[in-house]
Structure formats: structure tokens, C-alpha cells
């Protein structure tokens, strides 16, 4: 508590998300929750406990437990949003989003354009990502699939402050927004697995919003720009601290927060100062969002680059189960460090 300043308190990501949802549900009658195992009495408040206690205040009409029917969850969210409601839909694992690709990609993303701008689908879809020794179908980070879809917005949250502020903005946004959260960052458990990560942060008592489409510089630096999300962000920050001490290399670490639309302004401003770019994500390498950032950086900043652009991503394999194999696949601090040293040679 010693860190707490006036008007703030320390929250985990799960607590911050819960608080953001509750505030928006109080503020706007059209906001409701829909998903599997989210409000069941005696249940667990969603797969990661984000919704615990919300039925006490909002009841079961606005917190809708569904059958195990991801297409129905997403379709219901799309339809209700088209009628002016603001659903927050829940996927227990982002891997299950593939069950409802039609509803998200063909319906949610396209209704506005297909109607000539006459309709919009202001839904939020929350989905946990990340490899956590659950194997190939509960460990993916599929955000890049959606960053490819015109009509969707894609958000990645990494700490409590941004999680709350971005989720509130997503709920108020008139477009469909997917919010990806990393399972190791909720704060309830798994901190050891995450290498002692502490994604909790000081969160203001007062209401605030974090705008979509705006990146944040998490650590200033002059030698290398690192763009990273989720757990990879924390590993990048750890590498930045190490290399500052050991090699005098100053990394500037940027959390893009929103992948679509991407705040290239913040990233290019940094890159033009450092001349070196490393992109880190737990999504797989080929066609991952890092490829898009790299291509645009080459397009817009090539003559200011001092070194090739490096991507550190999950290897192009299904996420394996054995912990030793999983660690061989995801971007570890060792791999991030090697990439930074390589561009600084």
C-alpha cells in the first residue's frame, strides 16, 4: 500500500475489468453481459473470475448465461448491438473465437458497410489469450486474425489501469471491439508461472477512459524501439532493464494497446529516434501483427533504420503442452534479449 497515492488504489487486471464493467452497466441500461458460466449461482464468475459478484448488483436479466454455443453468443451479441444494445460478450478462451468467425467477421464487421453506414454493431467481445501449459487449443494468441478485418477494432490489455480504461472506451465505441487479455495477467493466480509478473497497477478512484487507437510508451529509451503486448511486454521491459545495466543499451518499450487501428504515430516517432525496431508478440510469427508493423515501418521509415527489423514471436507450431516445449515456442526474455543485441551490433 506504500505506493498508493491519493485518489488511487492498487487493482489487479481482473478487478479493474470488473470495476469497468460495473461502472458502464450503471451508466448505461443498454450494456449487458452474455457468455458461458458468467453468472451461475455457485459458479466461478467467468473462466477467470472477472464477473464475480456482478449478479448481486445487476441480476440475471443483464447477465445472461448461455448454452455452450459460441456462435449463438456472438450472433446474439451482433444482433442485439444492431438493435442499439451494448453487449459485452465473453469467450472463455480466445481459441473458441474460431467457433464464431462467421458472426464476428462476416456479420459484426460488415453490417455497417453493407448497410451503407445505416447500422452499426457496438459490441465488445472479451477473450483471454496466451500459452499457460494448457496445450494447443487453450493457449493461442489469435489477435492477428482479427486485426486483418476491416470493421473490427482490436485491443490488447496488459495492466489494470489500461484494462479498465480501454474496456470502458470499447463499450462506448460504436464499432465492434475485440478485447484480448492474457491469462497470466489477470492477477488472481499464475504469477509464478508468469515469472513473477505483477500487472496490477494504481487505478484512479475517479472515472477515466483510455482512448482506443493510442499507444503508450512504457519505458523511454534512445537506442532500440521495442513494440510488445501482453506478457511479452513485461518480458521486454525486463530485458530493457537488464541491458541498460549490463550493456548501457537504452530500450524504448511501447505497448500499442490497440492493434486495429494501430497508432503508428507513436511508434514511428520512437523509431525515428532509435533507428532500431524489435516487435514482440506471443501470436505466431507468420502473418502475425508484427509482420504488418514491420512492413509499414519499412515503408515509412526505411531510410532512418540502422538495422534490420526484428520480430520475436511464437514459433510457427501449435502451442505444445510440455512446459519445456512451451517455453521453447513463446518469446522468452532470452530470445528478446538476443534480438535486441543483434540489432545493436
Amino acid at each position: 500500500m506504500s505506493e498508493a497515492t491519493a485518489g488511487t488504489r492498487r487493482l489487479t487486471v481482473a478487478e479493474a475489468l470488473r470495476e469497468g464493467i460495473a461502472e458502464e452497466m450503471r451508466r448505461d441500461e443498454s450494456v449487458f453481459l452474455i457468455g458461458e458460466d458468467i453468472g451461475i449461482p455457485g459458479g466461478f464468475g467467468g473462466a477467470f473470475g472477472v464477473y464475480l459478484g456482478l449478479t448481486d448488483e445487476f441480476g440475471y436479466e443483464r447477465i445472461i448465461d448461455t448454452p455452450i454455443s459460441e456462435k449463438a453468443i456472438a450472433g446474439a451479441a451482433v444482433g442485439a448491438a444492431l438493435m442499439g444494445m451494448r453487449p459485452i460478450a465473453d469467450m472463455q478462451y480466445s481459441d473458441f473465437l474460431f467457433e464464431c468467425m462467421d458472426e464476428l467477421v462476416n456479420q459484426a464487421a460488415k453490417m455497417r458497410a453493407m448497410s451503407g453506414g445505416r447500422l452499426s454493431a457496438p459490441l465488445v467481445m472479451r477473450a483471454p489469450v496466451g500459452a499457460t501449459t494448457r496445450g494447443a487449443q487453450h493457449g493461442q494468441s489469435p489477435e492477428s486474425y482479427f486485426a486483418h478485418v476491416p470493421g473490427l477494432k482490436v485491443v490488447c490489455v496488459s495492466d489494470a489501469y489500461h484494462a479498465k480504461g480501454l474496456l470502458k472506451s470499447a463499450i462506448r465505441d460504436d464499432n465492434p471491439v475485440l478485447v484480448f487479455e492474457h491469462k497470466l495477467l489477470y492477477g488472481s493466480k499464475g504469477r509464478e508461472q508468469a515469472g513473477g509478473l505483477d500487472p496490477s497497477s494504481e487505478v484512479p478512484m475517479e472515472e477515466y477512459l483510455v482512448p482506443l487507437g493510442q499507444a503508450v510508451v512504457k519505458r523511454p529509451g534512445t537506442d532500440v524501439t521495442i513494440v510488445a503486448t501482453h506478457v511479452s511486454l513485461y518480458r521486454s521491459l525486463a530485458v530493457a532493464d537488464q541491458l541498460a545495466l549490463e550493456a548501457g543499451i537504452q530500450c524504448e518499450v511501447i505497448d500499442p494497446l490497440t492493434l486495429l487501428p494501430l497508432d503508428t504515430g507513436t511508434i514511428w516517432a520512437s523509431l525515428r529516434r532509435t533507428g532500431r525496431l524489435v516487435i514482440v508478440h506471443e501470436d505466431t510469427l507468420t502473418g502475425g501483427w508484427g509482420a504488418e508493423v514491420a512492413a509499414r515501418a519499412a515503408d515509412e521509415c526505411l531510410y532512418e533504420l540502422e538495422a534490420p527489423i526484428k520480430r520475436v514471436a511464437a514459433l510457427d507450431v501449435p502451442i505444445p503442452y510440455a512446459p519445456v516445449l512451451e517455453q521453447a515456442v513463446v518469446p522468452t526474455t532470452e530470445r528478446i534479449r538476443a534480438a535486441v543485441l543483434e540489432v545493436c551490433r
Binding site: 443483464r62 445472461i64 444482433g79 442485439a80 438493435m83 456479420q107
Partner: protein
Amino acid sequence: MRSEAAEVLDLYRTMVLVRRFEERVYLLFLEGEIPGTVHQYQGQEAVAVGVCSALGRSDWITSTHRPHGHALAKGVSPRAAMAELYGKETGCCRGRGGSMHLGDPDVGMLPAIAIVGGGNTVVTGLGLAFKLRRSQQVAVCFFGEGAANEGAFHEGLNFAAVQRLPVVFVCENNLYGASTAWDRVSLVPSVAARAGAYGVDGRTVDGMDVLAVRQAAIAAVARARAGEGPTLLECTTYRFVGHSRSDARGYRSREEESEWKQRDPIDRLRAQLLDSGEADESGLETLLREVDEVIEDAVGFARASPDPDPAEVLGEVYV
């Protein structure tokens, strides 16, 4: 309060409008005036017209890749529909939708969903919004029998059932999914029978009889409005034309086609109107002429309308 006779004459007029609109569109398409492809509705008019006659303007429908009949029956203006087929700025979706995505929020029609089964989950959200707002509105999902083999059919029906949503699922069983006969892809002939698996009332109705469709739809809509949940209404019907533009219909016999044409829903109602004395030949001739004038007006409007501005192509993606 309109008399039942006037209502029935309206059903006839709307069916004729759909038929003549489609026949005109077919020619315009062959002449190269309308781009893309068209999936046409001739033969199935009784379904769209009968069901939509049971709905109010504030009720909503979802449609399919074959939406022209649904659009006209729900009240999309022939001008706005035709201009959309032409890809014009004055179209109901400002030329961004096209034949397979006709719709108009002002009359309660989403842009048609051209993914088979796509509407079967989205419609539950319409129903959910109406239920949460206690707005007394009803949502209708039109789909073909082919969609009954999509996962979305089952997820949507079950979710609507357990949530008691004000939704009516209207299956237009025209016996063929593109070229594939229904009996090749389902051992159970009845789509309505599948409703029982979800505790939903399933009914089969003669989809070539607009009055029977209307009556069944009125009952289903009343149940939905009363909070009694969804109904699955299977309308047995037949498309008189190919699946899409270049379908020579080699997968079905001319005998079968001619048998179904004996049951033409427009001829059937026409005979009833004449037999009962509710209309006479000259009155129906006048009606046909009026309908054709409406369609020619729509064609003229579409031709004269401006193209969308390519400079605005990015404008509708995000709010």
C-alpha cells in the same frame, strides 16, 4: 381497421409485385444492366408475403442470399431495392450491399445475410434486445432448408428456446440447396420436426398457399409477442427458377417443375379471389398494370441515379 378482403387483395398485389420485379430483374440482368449475380424468388412469394403480412413495421426480419422477395414484402421501396441492384447511391444500402445484402433499417430489415445459416444466430440478438427492452417487437429469421444442416441453425434455435425469445424461424423448404436435393442431405424429411429436439413448437405449412402461411405466421408472431418463445415454421415451397444466374437446373426433372407450377401461389390466390367475387378480371388486370408501372418507375429511378463516389469508399467501415 382494414377488411379481410382488402388484406387479401394486398397479399395478391405484393406477390404480383415480387413476381414481376423478379421477372424484370432477370431481363435487366441478362441485358447486362445489373452487375454480379442474382438469386431469384419466383415461386416462393407466398412465404415472404404471408409472413411479412403478420408483422408490423417495427418488427424486424433477417434474410438470405435470396432476399428480393423478403425486401419487397417487408416494405423496402421498389425504387430503393432496384437502385441497390444497380449499385447506385440511392439504393437501400447506398450501393454497398447489392443483391445479396438488400435491407433497410427504416422498415425493419437487416442487410440480408448471404452466409447460409448466418441469420439464425444473429436473429437471437434481435429477439434478445426486444426482450430486454420489453418492446413487444418480434424478429423473424428467413432461411432455407439447407441452413438446417448448419450448426448455426441448432445453436440459434436452442438459445432462442431457452431464453424464450420473441423470434420466429421461418424455413423456406424449396427442396434444393443450390443443386443438392434435401433428401440427399437429411434422412428426416421434415425440418419442423427438428424443433422438437429443442422444446420448440414446429409447424409445417403449405408454402404455396399465402393464406395458410399468413395464418400460421399470425399465430407464431402472437406467441412470440406474448413471451412464449420461438416457433419454427417450415413452409414447403419451390423455386421456379435456377439457384442463381446460370443454373440450367439439370438436377431436377421438368415434370417435377411443372407439377409445382400447377401450385403457383399467385394463380391459386387469383382463382380464389375470382371465385369468391372479391375481385374481377378487369380489376386484377388494372392491378397488374399498376404493379408494372411501379416497377418501370423503379427501373427508371435506378438508371437515372448516380453511382456512389469512389472517394467515399472508406467512409462506412467505421462509425
